[in-house]
């Protein structure tokens, strides 16, 4: 896992979801731990698409519940 990529991911999460950086761990669950509802996640994914210059079709987001899952999805697309 690239720390540089994860830092950028964390920064986006902090600014979009109004959470402390310390809470953005791979294990953190969006709904339960970061208090992000479904609309928050849509907005967050949009911001990630902008930040990383990638496209994440809605279909690929199915089943994504943790920061680690979301990060891996984005990281794989940046290669």
């Amino acid at each position: 896992m690239s720390q540089e990529l994860f830092d950028r991911f964390t920064k986006t999460a902090v600014s979009l979801l109004s959470v402390d950086a310390g809470k953005v761990t791979r294990e953190a669950r969006f709904k339960e731990d970061l208090e992000a509802d479904s609309l928050d996640l849509v907005e967050f994914v949009m911001a990630l698409e902008e930040e990383f210059g990638v496209e994440v079709p809605e279909k690929e987001l199915e089943g994504i519940t943790t920061v680690g899952q979301a990060f891996d999805l984005i990281a794989a697309k940046t290669k």
Partner: protein, 394 residues
């Protein structure tokens, strides 16, 4: 107020306006200079964060909703703890437009970046019922939560309908008022191109040289309660909502009915509702937008109903500009403050009353008075007329 006989009082209110945030700052602003050289007057250095749990929540609210929640905070704080069941409390709110700033931003985003970049929050932020919905959610008001969108008459209609819910026995307390923040580049252009805005950038209601309005913004929120219940809980009772009325010109989409006949009928209905006669009215807080047509029609309505000399007439729009759907809310707040301070604020910028205006326009300096029943008027594009009568409580 007619209905089941319940009388309705104000027990708290809050204000956000360009001339002051908080009701006493607003009052100071009303006694200060009017607007000159501006198409719009806006709240400077607005910081929504004190009114939200975190920046995310603030960002999800359009500026108009931020104003509404800030004014609601001041109103609810003043009213204190309301001991009624949630189902017996409601929110009847007014706005002319809603979250237009968000819509305009997102249209630009869509054009520049495509449909996939349009915010998922666009809809809940732009919808005109967002302010009232936000207040109902924040304060857990589970009675009627409805929004009135009668353009510039919206807040006055909201206050009247809110009071009626209490008078009729449906609610024990209703939060009401209005908010607006719609002076986007596109909206300003629209108003300018229909020649509604002052070409000289000066709001001077009823003046001989008035030439249009200055686009304002702001919010005011009121807590209304059944008088006997407010008294029983030891609330500080600020004023009575003595009567209200609503009617329509059914004449033209933007121009008032000739002679102000609709406005005059509306004021008469409000007097009837309050059980008062024209002689009982001690102040008229006019719509007074500073447009040639509105001010003339309103003045004709006032003189036809009250005769000459009229009760003192003032318009705060020389200072506030015209905040569309929030106008009636800011003006009701001005009336409550004029009760408290025993002064009628002057019509700022106005120096020579128009030859077509035969009213006793308060101008130059605030006028001392013995507070008495006051009628506040607002008229909206679409031919909507609204009047509300507020009375001091001795």
């Amino acid at each position: 107020m007619q209905g089941t006989g319940h009388r309705v009082v104000v027990t708290g209110y809050g204000v956000v306006a360009p001339c002051g945030i908080g009701k006493q700052a607003f009052w100071k602003g009303l006694l200060g200079p009017g607007i000159v050289g501006a198409k719009t007057v806006e709240v400077a250095d607005w910081d929504p964060l004190p009114y939200f749990a975190n920046p995310k929540e603030a960002r999800r609210s359009d500026r108009v909703e931020q104003f509404a929640l800030a004014a609601a905070h001041e109103a609810m704080t003043q009213a204190g703890s309301l001991p009624y069941s949630a189902a017996r409390m409601g929110c009847i709110f007014g706005t002319g437009i809603g979250g237009l700033r968000t819509l305009e931003e997102q249209v630009i985003t869509r054009v520049e970046k495509g449909e996939r970049r349009v915010s998922p929050f666009l809809v809940p932020m732009m919808m005109s019922n967002a302010c009232g919905a936000a207040i109902s959610m924040r304060y857990h008001l589970q009675g009627p939560a409805e929004t009135i969108c009668t353009a510039c008459a919206a807040a006055t209609h909201a206050i009247g309908n809110a009071a009626r819910l209490i008078a009729w026995g449906r609610c024990d307390a209703v939060v009401t008022g209005g908010a607006e923040s719609a002076a986007t580049i596109t909206a300003v252009a629209g108003f300018a191109n229909m020649t509604a805005l002052s070409s000289t950038g000066c709001s001077k209601p009823f003046d001989e040289t008035r030439d249009g309005f200055v686009f304002g913004e702001g919010a005011a929120v009121f807590v209304l309660e059944r008088w006997d219940l407010a008294q029983a809980r030891g609330a500080n009772i600020l004023a009575e909502v003595a009567g209200a009325a609503s009617n329509a010109d059914a004449h033209h989409i933007t121009a008032p009915a000739p002679g102000g006949t609709g406005a005059s009928a509306c004021m008469q209905l409000a007097l009837d509702d309050a059980g008062l006669t024209p002689a009982d009215i001690k102040q008229i807080n006019a719509h007074g937008t500073s447009t040639p047509l509105n001010d003339q029609a309103e003045a004709q309505a006032v003189t036809s109903l009250f005769g000459v000399p009229t009760p003192p007439v003032t318009s705060i729009k020389g200072v506030t500009g015209h905040p569309l759907g929030a106008a009636g809310a800011l003006e009701a707040a001005a009336v409550l403050l004029s009760f408290e301070h025993r002064l009628i604020p002057p019509t700022a910028n106005t120096t020579t009353v128009g030859s077509d205006i035969h009213c006793d326009v308060v101008m130059g300096a605030p006028r001392e008075w013995t507070p008495g029943p006051t009628i506040s008027n607002n008229f909206g594009f679409g031919g909507h007329n609204g009047s509300v009568i507020l009375s001091p409580v001795s």
